[in-house]
Symmetry: D2
């Protein structure tokens, strides 16, 4: 199984009573399935996974699986703070049809999260998971860093097939590529550095921006693969302003606001998150307006 291409980490819609809204989730996915995206991640950071309980998580997985055809990768976020909870979540995701699980690092007990602790955690999860495991490092949110030295050890596990690195430090992505076998898929998580990440060996991207601008993100990928670097770089520059607005600046509220602007009815985030403020919506509209007619 490989993860070349562009994947969308989709948000989770909620209804007016702040419950998971599977109807809107399916409707949005049916629209995304009509784009060139190579696959989807449900219950990632952008899916507000940490704000859902286990029952709601199952609801979201089942509804999404139903809408995604077998020809596209279907990845489920199953990171938890405890090893046993991550194992349980991974087993449930597999039962509900996940092709792979994306397991964010535990990060609460920061000083205890050594390389050894990560290796133990992920080895236990990968031993138990019925489907392949993708490591997932997101230092800006977790405060811990899954370093190339630990990844190199984990990459030898037959059920650990790749990693999403959400940081924009392309040097660390290059390190990860160098530290792992060529069969191990290093996947970029920052749309603002997607093209250079591909340059240093990332095989694809799981990009919030791909929810909003799937064609543009896919085209950056295809241009790079075709060796058309100048065009890839030019397009990368065009998407970067929107990428940054969807990153740390406006986060999940920004992603949902942007999607509502382009016709995906995904509502507002769950409290304590608040809807994006008007200034964010205006900035997002301006950044997206440039992309209506990008040919695939």
């Amino acid at each position: 199984m490989n993860f070349a291409g562009v994947f969308a980490p989709i948000p989770t819609p909620f209804d007016e009573q702040d419950r998971v809204d599977t109807v809107r989730l399916r409707a949005a996915l049916l629209k995304w399935v009509a784009t060139p995206l190579d696959g989807f991640v449900v219950l990632g950071s952008n899916g507000e996974a940490v704000l859902l309980d286990d029952f709601e998580s199952d609801q979201a997985i089942v509804a999404a699986r139903d809408a995604v055809p077998a020809s596209r990768r279907f990845i489920v976020g199953t990171g938890r703070e405890s090893t046993q909870a991550a194992i349980r979540a991974s087993k449930r995701a597999a039962e509900h049809g996940a092709d792979a699980v994306l397991v964010r690092t535990p990060g609460f007990f920061k000083t205890q999260m050594t390389n050894d602790a990560f290796v133990r955690h992920y080895t236990a999860v990968a031993d138990a998971s019925p489907v392949p495991v993708l490591l997932y490092n997101f230092t800006a949110l977790t405060g811990v860093n899954l370093l190339p030295a630990a990844v190199a050890r984990l990459a030898t596990h037959p059920n650990i097939i790749g990693m999403k690195e959400s940081g924009g430090d392309v040097g660390q992505i290059a390190d990860l590529v160098s530290s792992t076998p060529s069969t191990f898929s290093v996947i970029a998580g920052t749309a603002g550095a997607f093209y250079p990440a591909l340059c240093v060996g990332a095989v694809g991207g799981i990009l919030a921006l791909a929810c909003v601008l799937p064609e543009a993100c896919s085209k950056v990928f295809k241009l790079t693969k075709a060796g058309r670097h100048d065009e890839a770089m030019a397009l990368q520059r065009r998407i970067t302003p929107a990428a940054k607005l969807l990153g740390q600046q406006y986060g999940v509220p920004g992603l949902k606001a942007a999607l509502n602007l382009v016709g995906y009815d995904v509502g507002v985030p769950r409290p304590p998150l608040a809807p994006a403020p008007d200034t964010a919506v205006t900035a997002l509209r301006d950044a997206i307006a440039l992309f209506e007619a990008i040919p695939a």
Copy 2:
């Protein structure tokens, strides 16, 4: 309700199958009840709350409540990332007999955790909680900072009665005291700065060290209250080395190891946490050995 005094944030024992061990939890509490401690916190950070599911949390609360007499404060940690989950956990804790709930800040979506977001979150929790709410700031673990400006706004809520500040920055504790009414209880969370925190107006402490050295911690409190500052400072200096070992250096594994050394059978932490290494146990034994005969 006030929180003058010294409170122990107790760990959660697990059995050999990594299940919550309510028998050992009760046994340990019966020992602590025989000390001068003023109350107990279950399911705090040191209780590995983030590693427990809701069912296990209820188990721990019920078992602990049963062992703590009404004369001691019984506080339950109910922080969750989503507002609705924090409300549900607070209601359950109240049903099971909590005197108050200690609600750690959400911290996953860091850039969205503005003063306004915190005020909305805590106001909703306090509106819904049947028992009083204590705010809880632990920047070193959460990566977010509940600032005095937000606390000042929240301190006017009739069901928000105090705050645990886990940081060692005594200046910030002084700010919190100055920013809130005198009925609002600011509680220190760092044993290594307990005496100076009391000096600037903290009313008490929720201190991991108080699990291990309840008499010494209580005596720091009593000496300070009695105006015997030189003795308080001298005792503070004696406890500081042990306090630091139990803080960021060895964390929950260190706390459990130290408790096993002094006769509390609390086992080992839940994975991905690992038992404290031998070097930690040796250092902890040395630091604790100085305190066997502290008079209360």
Copy 3:
């Protein structure tokens, strides 16, 4: 030589051509000498020392020395990035009459600034300096931390007699006191945590706020020494808002603006620093207005 008491780290006035203005420097010092301050630091961080060349530094030292009577401590900041430059600056300061030198850590080559590097640097400076050496840690500005472990080693040097710790972490100040002999003077650098720092064993303070409110700062010191803790704490709370404005928020521009408000003609800072904005001046005026009539 001991450093009990309150010391003012005075700013360096510049004239209209951005030259060191020794006339205004002397005039300001003559006013400060009429307050209860125990001594003065020239060419500290607040003296914009890093913006002066060696010739200007000598000018400032000579002019200040002339205005400070022998009954007050006269301390000169001589920190430099290179060991040999710190030695030369310390020798010059001694020639010009410094009672002691305050030597800020080098901090440019951060990852190389290990405990060993600090011990080598300060040992060389103390070996060569004709006058006693005070260590000086200001992590917020330098990005490096002179830890208690290194200070404990340096405190055995006969020519290293104390340390200014500018951080507000009172726990680290307590560590420093515990790690060093009782003859070693630990001096607080944060007015917002002055009283608690004294509680844990600091012998005095070098406080920007002492330039602006010398009587209030001295009174916090005297009340604490007299065991009148409640009054000390109450006064500490009163000075804290002004202390915070003069700290990281408005820095040297804020200090100079505040001094101009209370009758010290010290002008504006040197570029790239800019004069404090109007909002800062208003906030400072409000914070200072409360203190006109504090009895000594």
Copy 4:
């Protein structure tokens, strides 16, 4: 004037009495001049500029200028904390033959270093400098960040022609390229991310590694420019381990040790820096050993 290509930020040799050793400086430069490097930076961070006084700085400039033919760019580091000192240093560098000056951000007064402060500082320096100015951002050492928003404003100044960005965040480099006119030269400072930086529009690199492996670094540049991306990426991967050792891990001591290994007699760093430890020398030897026969 443009800065396409690879530039070496050369170290400053000291003699046995810790004085600037212009003889060894010239000798080393004559060796570098025989490599394909496009130019040289003296008195950069790797030149230990912050450890030199003004007289020594002049010595180093004069000696280096003499050894560098007019066909190669000759750049002098002239960053200082005060604006007037940066201006003086830039004028002296120009008198001594600098083609351009590289002006590191002031960074001591961190909270005052706003976009406006940087714009004022660099505008004043560029107004006064007889030779073109390169901005220089090195957040890891200075603790401040010269952001694309400020650079965009400065890039309109006719005497500000480019910028060295030392951070490995290729996204920020892409931002800088997007925020500035095509005539503005964005230059990478991290060899570990050189190829991806070129991919996103950096025109060249000022790379410590280029002192040690000039041919390999130049070849990464030429391969990328020729559109031979696969070969460029493969070579980038080969140089990355050595690049990392010369970066934050071993710093200037590591650079000098590595140069001594490959036949450049540049001695040891100035205290408080210490010579690289044996473990560093061994690691550097292993990393360099792979590169003896790289064709230019």
